[in-house]
Amino acid sequence: MNSTNAANAAAMTPTPRRGVGRKNMLERVVAVATLVLVVVFSFSIDGFATLGNLRVILSNSASLAILSCGMAVVIISRGLDLSLIAQMVAGATIFGILISSGVTAPAALLVAIVAMVVFGFLNAWLIAYVEIPAMLATLASSMFLVGLLRFAILRGEFLLLLPKSNPTVAFLAGDIVPGISMPVLLMVATLAATWFLLNRASVGRVVYAMGDNFQAARLAGLPVRTSTIVVYVFSAVTALIAGLIMAAASGAVDFRTVTNGTLLFDVILVVVLGGIPLRGGRGGVRNIVVGVALIAIMRNGMTLMDFTTQTQDMLKGLVLLTAIVTDNYLNPRDAETDTVGDL
């Protein structure tokens, strides 16, 4: 009798939902911080809380959001793609060179996509088959790619100018229907594709399993190598989309975005602030949206307040440091399972 009662009692007690409430704490903190920033900026900055500015924020953050999608998927699979910006520039360069020399837009796009798929595949091959750590492999491939393009195509130049009058360029930068621009549409499409990849495609399950425990996923017989290929090809394609948007908006492909590192930093910032841990296995599209929202609002507000780029960088650095310290306070690492590989 007693034992039955005890068993009943045990069954009645709700199992503690360990970590469920806390796991997304950083995401919530960031969401609240974003709202606070919006309120503060609305009162302190003239012209912040207008529909026009909202449209500017959306258009300007489109490429950041698209890049973050690629990076987030890679990071969830416990990888890291430091060649993302190099790929972005590469995709835009290939496309720009082709349409400048008179190739039709669909053909140019096709060539650019194929090139990106090949490059994403090479990254994944180095990581999954040659087994070079992702950080080093993508660092080296980034150097290689930028060097190759500048050497072979740009002949040492830093800048590739695109004809703004070109209908394709205008199409990529313009509005589809009044009020919704092409970049915003592509951003929404990429977010939807990311959501599908992570939540509805079987690869998504493998991605989360790899991020949680790579060895366990491999030993369970999951196709970790082919999934790695999918992940890096996906990030290469997002880089291409972001590159097209950015090139069309500014009318130029600027290789200095690779060397100064600010954009890569912003992308990592978005992913981390959104609450996706670098060790992978957690997070989703919602985290990307939250992260992008904060960075986009911050960038917009600081630009409206006429902060220099250096000041903006410094403030973003401080935000990152605050965020990881907060995250560490909210989700302290377990000293028993903490390993050296987690950087």
Binding site: L126, V130, E131, I132, P133, M135, L136, A137, L139, A140, S141, S142, M143, F144, L145, V146, G147, L148, R150, F151, L154, G156, T259, N260, T262, F265, I268, V272, L278, R279, T308, Q310, T311, Q312, D313, M314, L315, K316, G317, L318, L320, L321, I324, V325, D327, N328, P332, R333, A335, E336, T337, D338, T339, V340, G341, D342, L343
Partner: protein, 710 residues
């Protein structure tokens, strides 16, 4: 009663002075620890060779001095990164930190007009401050190192740009000149620039720190395994904090040297430096390896990248092409290194077995005694302690008739007289106890594979006598450790003679030594009086059983794969062995004295013509071990064995075979005691006891040996 042995008339056994084989040298080199540092070294050699082939006068003194001048700051930053990586972190902020420290030095020198030592101190402090921020967040708070240092990298870079833009005009218009400042920047000491000497000193200090100091060991322990370090009582967090601060100080020094040399900073100072030094570190360490303080390897990696970079720019290549090639080269070096690391043990395994043509000769002196010619006499053996002992390789009887044997699980058992039915533990030794002998004081001396020579008293006290001998000349691998102590006997003066059956294989792989067929074993001696171990005779073919002759002047040693019994003259050991008996039908194991002045020789297994033929063809055996699963290998016949009776002059006079269906297999040892023969087998779970017809029923081993002399 014993027959005198006519030693000088016996044929000499040829023993090679040393064994040289390219395959063995390759295998031995592959199993060395330093082989992992070989790849960065080879990469450096390739780069140097490439530069030599394409550029004239690159390695002349003036150019080398020039290189050394600019190498200092990069080299120092690589060392700083090494310290952080060794503790298990990463520091992306080194480039910004470098620029900031250089700016602080210029600011203190030109604007504040401080004396140069104070400027140095300020630079170091600036570096240490950024290191301390990193260390506080990544170490004390325990946040991720990559993000933390990414944050400090961006923040510091922003601060630096703001500060340097504000002060640059004033700094460049300052006219202060200081002798010490210029000495640091431009002078040469012993033909090399001051900065290079600073790099050398810091490198030596870091090397000493990792090798000799407590904090250095703590850093490596934390980097190797944080959890183990914490459980070992190391204060992990403060160790990480210290490593970051130290790295910051080194970067600060580097920034100071840069400032003294350049006397200016620009907006691009230190940009991309973290990638450059990370590349150098990766090439040097062969991947991103925490917990290794390989200062020399990392500096080699740095030299490789630095010279490559420099030579390409000198040769007139554009920066973009250099970038392209660097990316490709890093990928190639990493790929080679990762693959080499992963497959090194496979390469080692496929080259380790190094067979040689080997001929044990024809079977001789066995007419009328072969298993098909006589009745299997061991069939009548009484079985003792069945299922109670696991693998009694050797059996030993004391004067009271108690039986001792070692077992596979590392115990020494005693089976009490008279019925020997129950096995009780005398001592737990560990390892794999093999040969046993009683010394004059009635203690058991045991050869233990994997340990060495062990002495056990009758109340179970275990004492390790020796586990090392002299290192042989011309061996790539350290062969001082006694790997497979097999059997022993004790000389009249108390010297223990024992065999190390093979220097190349552990006991579980003894079969591979047969497939190799090389002289890998040695005869050793241990003198309890001086506690000295000596190699009596190196390069014997699987020396196994050891037995002192009845006359107390000669030593018999079974050479198992050679199917022969060797004999040494104790008075002239250096003359080497002669062959007492060869052409045995099986593989001799232990040898022991018999009551009638002869000897008992255990045969662990039988030769067969097919395997004898395979022994003459090393290629067959090498291909077999590579392509055929071990269960299907050709091997000697271990299913049948027996005991040979040899007379005092070395002639086989009788044979006791076991029946094909048992009950005993693979006999490795036998002892005569009061007219009975006790039989042990390394794979048996029992001990056999055979009544002998023509034996002295009062003869006991220890008394006949020690009793007659004392």
């Amino acid at each position: 009663m014993a027959v005198d042995i006519d030693f000088p008339s016996l044929p000499k056994q040829r023993v090679p002075r040393f064994v040289l084989s390219p395959r063995r040298i390759l295998a031995d080199v592959l199993s060395k620890g330093w082989v992992e540092s070989l790849i960065p070294f080879v990469a450096l050699l390739c780069v140097v060779a490439g530069v030599l082939a394409t550029t004239n006068g690159y390695f002349e003194g003036s150019n080398l001095r020039n290189l050394a001048q600019y190498a200092a700051d990069g080299g120092l930053v690589v060392l700083a990164l090494l310290v952080v990586v060794a503790v298990g972190g990463i520091d992306l902020s080194v480039g910004s930190n470098f620029a900031m420290s250089a700016f602080v030095a210029l600011f203190c020198f030109h604007i504040l007009q401080l004396p140069v030592p104070a400027v140095l101190l300020a630079s170091l402090l600036a570096g240490a401050t950024i290191g301390a921020v990193n260390g506080f967040i990544a170490g004390l708070l325990g946040c991720g190192a990559l993000l933390t240092t990414l944050g400090t990298m961006i923040t510091t870079r922003g601060l630096y740009t703001l500060a340097s833009q504000a002060q640059l005009v004033e700094i460049s218009s300052s006219a202060r000149i200081d002798d010490l400042w210029d000495w640091i920047g431009f002078e040469k000491v012993l033909t090399l620039p001051v900065g290079f000497w600073a790099l050398a000193v810091v490198a030596v200090l870091v090397l000493i720190m990792f090798r000799q100091t407590r904090i250095g060991w703590h850093i490596l322990a934390v980097g190797g395994n944080r959890k183990a370090a914490r459980h070992g009582g190391i204060r992990v967090k403060s160790t990480i904090f210290f490593a970051y601060v130290l790295a910051g100080v080194i970067v600060g020094l580097s920034g100071f040297l840069f400032a003294a040399r350049q006397n200016s900073v620009g907006s691009d100072t230190g940009i991309g430096m973290e990638f450059f030094v990370l590349t150098a570190l990766v090439v040097g360490l062969g991947g991103f390896v925490p917990g290794r303080g390989a200062v020399v390897s990392v500096l080699i990696g740095f030299a490789t990248i630095y010279i490559l970079n420099n030579a390409m720019i000198n040769a007139g290549f554009r920066g973009d092409f250099v970038q392209l090639s660097m990316g490709a080269i890093i990928v190639v070096i990493l790929a080679i290194d990762v693959k080499f690391r992963k497959n090194r043990h496979r390469l080692l395994a496929s080259t380790y077995l190094d067979p040689v043509s080997f001929d044990a000769g024809t079977v001789e002196g066995m007419r009328g005694l072969m298993p098909d010619e006589t009745a299997p006499k061991l069939k009548d053996a009484r079985i003792l302690a069945s299922g109670r002992v696991d693998g009694p390789e050797d059996v030993l009887l004391d004067a009271a008739g108690n039986l001792y044997c070692g077992t596979r699980d590392g115990y020494l058992y005693r089976l009490n007289a008279p019925d020997h039915a129950e096995a009780e533990v005398l001592a737990k030794i560990g390892g794999r106890p093999l040969g046993l002998a009683l010394d004059r004081e009635g203690r058991i001396v045991a050869c233990v594979a994997g340990m060495g020579l062990v002495r056990v008293t009758m109340d179970g006290q275990v004492e390790l006598l020796t586990d090392q001998t002299e290192r042989s000349l011309l061996s790539v691998q350290d062969d001082t450790t006694i790997r497979m102590a097999d059997d022993l006997d004790i000389g009249p003066d108390g010297t223990i003679y024992f065999t190390d059956a093979t220097k190349r294989y552990d006991i579980e792989n003894w079969g591979l030594d047969l497939l190799e067929g090389r002289p890998n074993g040695r005869l050793l001696s241990y003198d309890p009086a001086t506690r000295r171990t000596r190699t009596v005779c190196d390069n014997l073919v699987f020396p196994n059983g050891v037995c002192l002759a009845h006359d107390g002047k000669h030593l018999l040693v079974a050479s198992t794969w050679d199917c022969s019994i060797l004999i040494f003259d104790l008075a002239r050991l250096s003359d080497g062995p002669r062959v007492l008996l060869s052409g045995l039908p099986g593989y001799p194991d232990n040898i022991n004295r018999a009551s009638d002045g002869g000897y008992w020789v255990a045969l662990a297994g039988m030769r067969n013509p097919v395997f004898d033929e395979a022994m003459r063809h090393p290629g067959v055996r090498r291909r077999m071990t590579r392509h055929v699963p071990p269960t299907n290998w050709l091997f000697g016949n271990l299913n049948i064995g027996g005991v040979l009776k040899v007379d005092g002059a070395g002639k086989v006079v009788d044979a006791f075979w076991d029946a094909p269906d048992g009950p005993l297999y693979m006999i490795t040892s036998m002892r005569e005691h009061e007219g009975e023969l006790y039989l042990g087998g390394v794979t048996n779970d029992k001990i056999g006891c055979l009544k002998l017809d023509k034996a002295d029923p009062t003869w006991r081993g220890p008394e006949s040996y020690w009793g007659g002399r004392s």
